[in-house]
């Protein structure tokens, strides 16, 4: 006999926590994950503390199999190296491990994404007569998205982030639609889910366009549409994500508090 895990009281859970918990769940079954810093790192570390304790975390600073006890602020925090199975050089992590197709899942954030889950992290257009707004740039993302078996994305849902047309394509998700990844020679499957603070979008198997398939408890599809900068397609049957369990929320808060006290 098993009992269903007790759900955390819904009022206590923030939209960001819903996003992170669902992002961590998306890593169930993955063996290896190339982890971007920020939200992806939080989610990947939460996954290790909940349903995927054996998940191998790979950071672009050169660590394979990091097991940090607290959230790193940067991808180069010492604990990532101290707890790793192996530490390698930056050229090696990109060439031998990522490019050679050894990593199952790439986990990315984004400043802007579009209906085909392409990513802009380079510049934003701020209108006529104003200089382009500068973002950090590509980092590892173009090759992570190209070479991992599949890609998960996590970002907050707003019309500022989910745009009709990217100001700059830094990283290709599904390009301009079906067949584009094959045409470009991108070997992984590309983005398979975009997890936000409102719900989850997945590419349509035929059109590659993102479709809203799940909403978080209490979120309406209209609200998600309003937060999306294009005419968002909604699945015939949209399901609600399972509320976070007590265990998930406790693990997430412990992780975040450990990070804070160390900062």
């Amino acid at each position: 006999m098993t009992t269903a895990p007790r759900a955390a009281a819904a009022t206590e859970v923030t939209p960001d926590e819903l996003m992170t918990v669902n992002a961590a769940r998306a890593l169930a079954g993955a063996r290896t994950c190339f982890v971007g810093i920020g939200l992806p790192s939080t989610a990947a570390n939460l996954s290790r503390r909940t349903d995927n304790p054996d998940l191998v975390l790979v950071y672009e600073s050169g660590t394979l199999g990091s097991k940090p006890t607290r959230l790193p602020l940067s991808i180069g925090d010492g604990e990532l190296a101290d707890t790793a199975d192996a530490v390698v050089s930056v050229p090696e992590i990109f060439n031998y491990w990522l490019q050679a197709g050894r990593i199952d899942v790439g986990f990315l954030g984004a400043a802007q994404t579009d209906r085909y889950a392409n990513i802009n992290t380079t510049v934003v257009d701020r209108g006529p007569g104003r200089p382009e707004g500068r973002l950090p740039g590509a980092g590892g993302a173009p090759e992570i998205a190209a070479n991992c078996g599949r890609v998960l994305m996590v970002l907050r849902h707003s019309t500022r982030n989910f745009v009709e047309k990217l100001d700059f394509t830094t990283t290709v998700g599904h390009g301009s639609g079906p067949g584009d990844r094959e045409r470009l020679g991108l070997r992984g499957r590309g983005p398979t889910a975009v997890i936000t603070d409102l719900g989850i979008l997945r590419p349509d198997p035929e059109t590659a366009e993102l479709v809203l398939t799940e909403v978080h408890p209490g979120v309406t599809t209209d609200r998600v549409r309003a937060a999306t900068g294009w005419e968002l397609r909604v699945a015939d049957r949209v399901t609600a994500t399972a509320p976070p369990t007590e265990a998930e929320i406790t693990a997430l808060r412990t992780l975040k508090n450990a990070g804070r006290s160390a900062a």
Binding site: I37, G38, E60, S61, G62, T63, P72, L73, S74, I75, G76, D77, G78, L80, A81, D82, V87, S89, V90, P91, F94, N95, L98, Q99, T122, P131, E132, G133, R134, P136, G137, A138, G139, G140, A141, P142, E143, A146, N147, F168, T169, T170, T171, V172, G175, D180, L184, G185, L186, R187, A262, A263
Partner: protein, 272 residues
């Protein structure tokens, strides 16, 4: 054999106006003390190369010493923007900043080509990205064996590469360990190599993950204890995450930035 020098003399001898300079260290072992010495000496019109410009290049850019930046990710890790970098790119303050922008994989391979004495490196990268439209150092090459089209990135060969390491011996042999990033490639790609170290020891003891640069591959070694702060040197210090967070409001404001540089760089004979 590498000469053991003071930080002041090593920077004065190896780094010149107009040079292309790579100061590497992927979050770990970032050579801040050497950068502060460059600021104190006012060495200018630099082309700076670095995968992650980080706070170190934010400071050099804000100090007005940089004409061009070659990079692949320009943020304050875990905190947000590099505001001096943004101000230079967006508003030309304190001077316009030319940029040559890549992905991490591309930059890493540019160093590999430079260290290997090759004109370019090959990788599976940049496909479908707009990045190649804004740089003349990415192209394509067709594999002569399979016909596959691959990205080609031009070698980077700095006039001088500056890195920070934990230890050197009296002959200038250097050992760094922990996250060793792209420092070996950046050093071997350069015409001159300056290594600042936490300490000079009588004998180097082999370390797991240790990278050794023989003294004959290094131009000069300069002792600079805590010379990676607010970055860190594994075995000697931990990353000062609070400083990286405190840098955000300082770098947002031009006057606060100038005041910080005045107080923490110019007024110190030895940077920390």
């Amino acid at each position: 054999m590498a000469e053991i020098r003071t930080l002041h003399d090593a920077v004065a001898e190896l780094v010149h106006d107009g040079d292309t300079v790579a100061m590497e260290g992927f979050t770990h072992l970032i050579p801040f003390a050497a950068a502060h010495e460059i600021i104190r000496q006012g060495i200018t019109d630099l082309t700076l190369v670095r995968m992650t410009p980080d706070v170190i290049y934010d400071q050099l850019i804000g100090a007005g010493l940089v004409k061009k930046l070659v990079f692949s990710w320009g943020g304050n890790p875990g905190v947000g923007s590099l505001h001096r970098f943004r101000d230079a790119v967006e508003n030309g303050w304190p001077r316009p900043l030319e940029i040559d922008e890549h992905s991490h994989a591309g930059m890493a391979n540019r160093y590999v080509a430079g260290a290997s004495g090759l004109p370019f490196a090959v990788l599976r990268g940049y496909r479908g990205s707009d990045i190649p439209e804004r740089t003349d150092t990415v192209s394509t090459v067709t594999c002569p064996f399979t016909g596959e089209e691959l990205a080609a990135v031009r070698a980077v060969n700095p006039d001088v590469t500056v890195i920070h390491a934990q230890q050197a011996d009296h002959d200038g042999n250097v050992q760094l360990w922990g996250l060793t990033g792209v420092q070996k490639e950046a050093a071997l790609a350069a015409r001159r190599v300056l290594v600042t170290v936490e300490e000079i020891v009588d004998e180097l003891t082999p370390r797991p993950t240790g990278v050794v640069l023989p003294g004959w591959a290094v131009t000069a070694v300069a002792p600079a204890p805590d010379g990676a702060h607010p970055s860190y040197a594994a075995g000697y210090s931990v990353r000062d995450n609070a400083f990286y967070q405190a840098w955000d409001p300082i770098s947002r404001d031009r006057d606060a930035f100038r005041k910080w540089i005045e107080e923490h760089v110019h007024d110190r004979s030895q940077a920390r």
